[in-house]
Amino acid sequence: MLRKASRQLLTWACIALSITLLNGCITSRYDGKRAPDPSKAIIVGSITEGFLTQPHGLVVDIKQHGEPGTHLRLTTLGNEDDQPSPNLLGNLYMYEVPPGDYEVTGWSYVYYAGRSMARAAPVVFTVRAGETAYIGDLRADALRFCLSNVSNAEKTLENLKRKYPILVGRNILDLTPKSAFEPWPSSDATDSGKGLCKL
């Protein structure tokens, strides 16, 4: 009887696990080793975290509006390190995604409990089929607990082309007028007298 109950429990556990995994379907990186799909868009940029002693695992989520709802999860830990500084960890990334509207929905650190505060103005940008778009350089540090997305197109695109030769000769749109944003605090950010995100 115990064995029967265990089997049923196992079945339910498997169903719950499957639902959890499906729920978190995240798009994987595009390495440019095959020709890009003309029905999709390419998104490029960088993500970097600054730290004093050890990185804390910056995570940024970008989600497509509507269905099927492509989800990009940009992370510093577990990826290559394209930053030469010993106090920076980050990578240049490239994703192939369905055309549509995308929103930077939130960010956090793996090793901190805080999560991004709600935003009054959502960060939304649009990509079209066949386009290659630079969406900015995401950067955070564990002193201010704030994430910003800035345009550094000239230098970053040069590095991206070196890393992903498929980008050489492609017209890359700078979407940062839509996708860049001022420092965005997490719930771990504190006001030291000048306001959140200011030291």
Binding site: L9, W12, R115, S186, S187, L196
Partner: protein, 173 residues
Amino acid sequence: MKRPALLWLCLLATLSLLAGCIGGPDLKGQPFFTPPAESSPDHATVYFYRTAASIGDGVAPTIQIDGRVISSLPSGGYFKSIIAAGKHTVDSTSPPFISGKVNKRFDINVENGKVYFIADQIGTSAYNDGQTLGEPDDASFGGTRFYSRYALVPTEEALRAIKWCQVVPAAAR
């Protein structure tokens, strides 16, 4: 349906319902605070706010003034209360699932025409800025000590923080 399956479903439903009980109102789509803070010449205006919390994010206390329930205060929310000049007692009550008891109480003295900002705050260092109302709390979670309190925050500082908060829906007041 088999009995274990039914038990699992019941457990899942119970947890979902309890989460809804303690988490407070949903702030999705609610407007963010925009200055200036409104004042009333014949009353005092008190803004209660709570920026997004790293700990206790899913727990919304209920705020009472002089024994009257005013609103719940979820993480990332704010509400405004117009009260008469004078001394008032503020109670913060944890949700029924947690304890249902008043866990913080303090008095405030207010004047007509003035605006006050009261923040529900939590941090990892003890507060010594003179803004604490009543007694602060402290507790350990995951090896870290956290300090929580209500604070009477100067306007300039409050305006920098409350802009990240959304108004609590009227139904929760």
